[in-house]
Symmetry: C2
Subunit: 679 residues, 2 copies
């Protein structure tokens, strides 16, 4: 309410401006965005406070749009396949209509019939027609852009009392349910509530999903929209929130901006709507408190009142969790392991989803790791500076394609210097990895495993992550076993991008202090400087520091293993890329290869009090004892007698009740998919 | 008290360990540091709580030291000119004795005469003798190491009832006042309270200064130590606090670690002691509240009680300020300009001090700039990872010498690719720049100017900074006019290290996307990659973003001007350096050259709400109209009719009442040192 009041106060103090659209990220673009924000706020505020000036503001601005809109052709900066008129892309225009149709609804009763006719005939109906006729392809897409368009037209249909528009919004322009809002609700989410594009776009898509759902519930309660698909929208909110970092940022896989967090307006709306319309789960209130605001409307009011009476709601149940992907839940998924104290958890993510539409990355079996509420082994996210005119108008940058989407930009294996699926969206879009195993019931040994057979024909990839607690160790460690098998010889590159400061490594390095080679020619390799490289003579140990803690990567060696320290930034004439650093493990040959590593947080460093301890890792060696179609055995040894053996089944034997694996160190037997022998 | 209790509880729960010293940053080093912390805490806690176990802990540990210390020669890792026995350097050992003598004093009454004799004869007296005889040179140094040594021996002298030790501590080993604590108090601080090494080491030096002062006040009140030099210690605390960034970090010029802030124990002690022993200034309580803790002792108790009765003390008076350097205040100094709102101030620093002893940098007329509580144009600080074993045992790294101290690592001019004074400490240590002007009474035009004639023989350097507010602008801007004159031709390089993301520049750039040249061969140049370079055809404009705001550097051009975008990181085989970025302005020729620039913060960018404005600067051009021995005229123009002329006197005419300067744009007249004609 306060924010709406501030927006409207400012709006009323200035002359209305409805400029002819010129730019894609500059003054006129921002003005039209501001206008719909102002109209929506003024409309809602009129409903709350009854001040007729607010209604007149909406009216006056809409009348200016009624004068402008019929004069517009396509936007002069339009480049996309779905251009707009007020904005360079139709997407922004649908957002405009989603907001404006709400404002119109709020002030409808104050308008003269003549004003209604001018507004409806010159803006609202022409825009709805533009979306449903000229841009029917976009309107009918099973995609968040389609959801925005459907919601815009649906809300407009309700306010105009036009059931035909509502029907098109719900069931698509063909009116047969082959597209439209309901189809999107069924196809864009998995049964678990996982949204196909990942959390960054989920938060964006959930805004129209909830806005339309609220209107449907008001106008067509017989559709029981919030109960649809076993309360899908509610579960989508829980899934969204589970996919956040400790500080509340959406885990930035696929195209994602790292600044986005749960405080964004769309996430606030989703939490409030889920609370108010489906079950009043008090655990959502703890998120609302962190968000620090509520949406202006009935749902937000309910949340605000609930927080007033329940100032200390139960915490949101952040936990280790897996989410299936795909409408039927059979298109891979993600696993998130959480460990350590609630205020400072370790979070490890394994990604084995489908491609995730146009904003997906070539990152099959990717890995992301947080600790201390910081990114430690991060995903690059997208190369984009949203709304920044100087950076290609705020669009996705060319480096998003040449680097950020490529496999080598991710903490996963690139085969033969080619990205997954040869970097072909056409080849990738209908493929997915497979869930193999997930078990988080034992907090001392949480484990997940996934397989991919699609990214590289002829190469079977299996990645197993475990989060392990042990009395030898202050913090949970992550075990990462990446097994590749192929009849043909290949080059396998596995980078770990690390945030923080290089401390040391036991790998004898050749440095390139004056002239840095570039790692390769294409598919992201052209953006990587090689700062130093070497051949390990023993299990690799690499230590860096970040924040108040030390981190070590300890990796098994192999006869072909090379280690390279690389930095992002070559071929970057516009300084678009962040100069992230990685340790890259390279192995070559045919048959089976296993990258087996431990990521160990250790010790503490305090620069204010000048105290430190534990700056060397406890884990001293990782060794692959055997890797066959029966399974993989990895030995992990450390100080003070730490000796573990991780035993993991192979895809071929994953379902077997028990396993027997012969190694040079003897035969190991275990039951179930994976076990850790600890002493 | 809580913290001391936690330390002592842990200490009592474990066996006492007094190991044979082996390492300089590892287990035995940290153990002996922990031991003195534990003894000091246990001693104080015994005084507070009277629990005899605490006294026995101190006794038992001291008896183990009494057994160990006589067996020790110099530390095996000793490298410095003043080695220790328990520690690799004597400095740590003096800190040990400062703490331990306090602990011994606290439990003295509980000890048997036999125990006292063992402890005094085997540790305390031998260590005091080691400091005053074997290491008399270090003990008598006018330097913070000397202060620690004097305080250690002084406190020990008081507790042993040995006036000879106290006398040596106060007046030096020669007992004539030519060295010792009192001499240090007179010589290490300027009359304003500025400490010769800068704020990072000031905070460290103030700990022994205050600890000894409190003991002197208790034992020899006739010395009126807190009133000495017109309450020097109190003013030193105010000067220390003025030299902090908005977030409380000590401004990191000279050798400094950026993590250090006002929460460090030494700063807490200094604030508490200054409050309790000299005037009870309530504005210090606001700092104590930010520190979140008090020192355990009478002073801390007074602060805690005062905060209990005054929970909302008046704010500390952060303001624009200049500090003179040198015992008599005539060895240059620093100027700090502050502007903008108190919660989010802009802070600009101009440095024209003396060299600052061994930890000084070759940074004459250096510049540092904060905004939004962030480093925007930072000082590199030192190349050191304190206490990090892997980084050369936590010592200053080689890159501290080869880069961080060098002139090119700072936001100031390097002449002919050589550091100030040819990089010679011997040549630099007794030189200083000169204050020319400081006037901060007008919040719309605060200005300071300084001159250096010593760093480069034959080159006169004058730098003038102004912080300007104007109705055209949302935030204060910084004007930076750096004038160089020389009869001989020279190459002048002025880098601005910028924190944040490059957005764009109007300079046509040649990029080095695949093979980066290195800027030079030595004196820091060998560490700089050249990413891109070009010759400006018009006044330079460069925009970057940081946090929620945009920043632009707009600089006058000249016929010889070249622009290079450089990055720190070449010749860095141990990954010791941070990969900081800079825009470097290069000019060549004889006569006078002026680098004239504006640093403009502008607009706002919000990644959560996806809103932005003002991503292009208001200032569009900077032009040098004239630069003579009479003065310098700089024209600044911008959007919406912004037109300023900055007029600054030259050193030769600085004292003149009025100035008349002929330029191609007409003759300008002004009175006083500098003026800004704004319209």
């Amino acid at each position: 309410l306060q924010r709406a009041q501030a927006i409207v106060d400012r709006a009323l103090a200035e002359p209305i401006s409805v400029p002819i659209p010129r730019d894609a990220a500059g003054g006129t673009h921002e003005r039209h965005k501001l206008n719909y924000v102002q109209m929506q706020a003024a409309g809602f505020l009129y409903q709350v406070k009854g001040d007729i000036r607010y209604a007149h503001f909406v009216r006056d601005m809409l009348l200016q749009y009624a004068a402008l809109y019929p004069t517009l052709g396509l936007h002069p900066k339009a480049k996309s396949q779905a251009p707009g008129k007020l904005f360079h892309q139709m997407l922004n225009e649908t957002v405009w209509l989603v907001n404006t149709s709400q404002a119109y609804d709020c002030v409808y009763d104050t308008l003269t019939p003549a004003d209604r006719t001018r507004i409806e005939d010159n803006v609202l109906r022409p825009m709805a027609r533009f979306f449903t006729v000229d841009e029917a392809h976009e309107f009918d897409r099973i995609h968040n852009h389609g959801t925005w368009a459907d919601t815009a037209v649906g809300l407009t249909g309700y306010v105009l009392g036009d059931p035909q528009l509502v029907k098109m919004a719900l069931d698509g322009t063909r009116l047969d349910g082959s597209s439209g809002y309901l189809r999107q609700l069924d196809e864009l989410f998995s049964p678990d509530g996982y949204y196909v594009e990942g959390p960054y776009y989920a938060r964006y898509a959930l805004e129209p999903f909830f806005l339309f759902a609220e209107a449907i519930a008001n106008n067509q309660p017989e559709l029981a929209i919030f109960a649809r698909r076993d309360h899908l929208l509610n579960r989508a909110v829980f899934a969204l929130l589970q996919q956040t970092s400790p500080s509340g940022a959406f885990i930035p896989f696929n195209d994602a901006l790292k600044e986005k967090d749960i405080r964004s307006d769309d996430a606030v709306l989703a939490v409030d709507e889920a609370y108010a319309h489906d079950g009043h789960d008090p655990r959502l209130l703890s998120i609302a408190r962190r968000q620090g605001k509520v949406t202006l409307g009935i749902a937000g009011l309910e949340v605000a009142r609930a927080l007033a009476t329940t100032p200390n709601p139960p915490p949101f149940p952040f936990r280790s969790v897996e989410y299936r992907d795909g409408p039927d839940g059979n298109r891979g998924g993600i696993a998130i392991l959480r460990g350590g104290p609630a205020r400072d958890p370790s979070v490890a993510l394994l990604k084995y989803t489908s491609f995730g539409m146009e904003h997906g990355h070539y990152d099959k079996l990717g890995f992301i790791y947080y600790d201390q509420d910081r990114e430690i082994i991060p995903d690059y996210g997208s190369a984009r500076f949203l709304n920044v005119d100087q950076k290609d108008g705020g669009r996705y940058l060319i480096e998003n394609t040449t680097f950020a989407k490529q496999t080598i930009a991710h903490n996963t294996v690139t085969v033969d210097e080619r990205s997954d699926y040869g970097g072909s969206y056409k080849a990738a879009e209908n493929q997915h990895s497979e869930r193999e195993f997930f078990d988080a019931h034992d907090p001392d040994f949480q484990v997940t495993s996934a397989v991919d057979r699609t990214a590289y024909p002829g190469v079977l990839m299996q990645r197993t992550l475990a989060m392990v607690r042990d009395p030898h160790l202050l913090y949970p460690v992550v075990l990462d076993v990446f097994r590749l098998t192929s009849a043909q010889p290949h080059r396998y590159d596995l980078p770990y991008y690390y945030e923080g400061t290089f401390l040391d490594t036991n790998v004898p390095l050749t440095h390139h202090p004056t002239e840095r080679p570039i790692l390769g020619r294409a598919e992201g390799y052209q953006h990587l400087w090689v700062a130093a490289e070497g051949k390990p003579a023993a299990p690799v140990s690499f230590t860096w520091m970040n924040g108040d803690r030390y981190y070590s990567l300890i990796s098994a060696t192999s006869p072909s293993l090379q280690v390279k320290f690389v930095q992002v930034g070559a071929h970057d004439p516009n300084f678009d890329l962040r100069n992230e650093n990685a340790i890259l493990l390279r192995s070559e040959g045919a048959g089976a290869h296993v990258f087996a590593s431990v990521i160990e947080p250790h010790g503490d460093w305090n620069g204010v009090s000048e105290q430190t301890f534990g700056n060397h890792p406890t884990i001293t060696a990782v060794e692959v004892l055997a890797a066959t179609d029966e399974g993989t055995a990895v030995r992990i040894t450390g100080k003070d007698g730490l000796a573990w053996t991780l035993l993991v089944a192979s895809p071929a034997t994953a379902k077997a009740a028990s396993h027997h694996l012969a190694t040079a160190a003897g035969t190991y037997s275990w039951s179930g998919f994976a076990t850790l022998q600890q002493r």
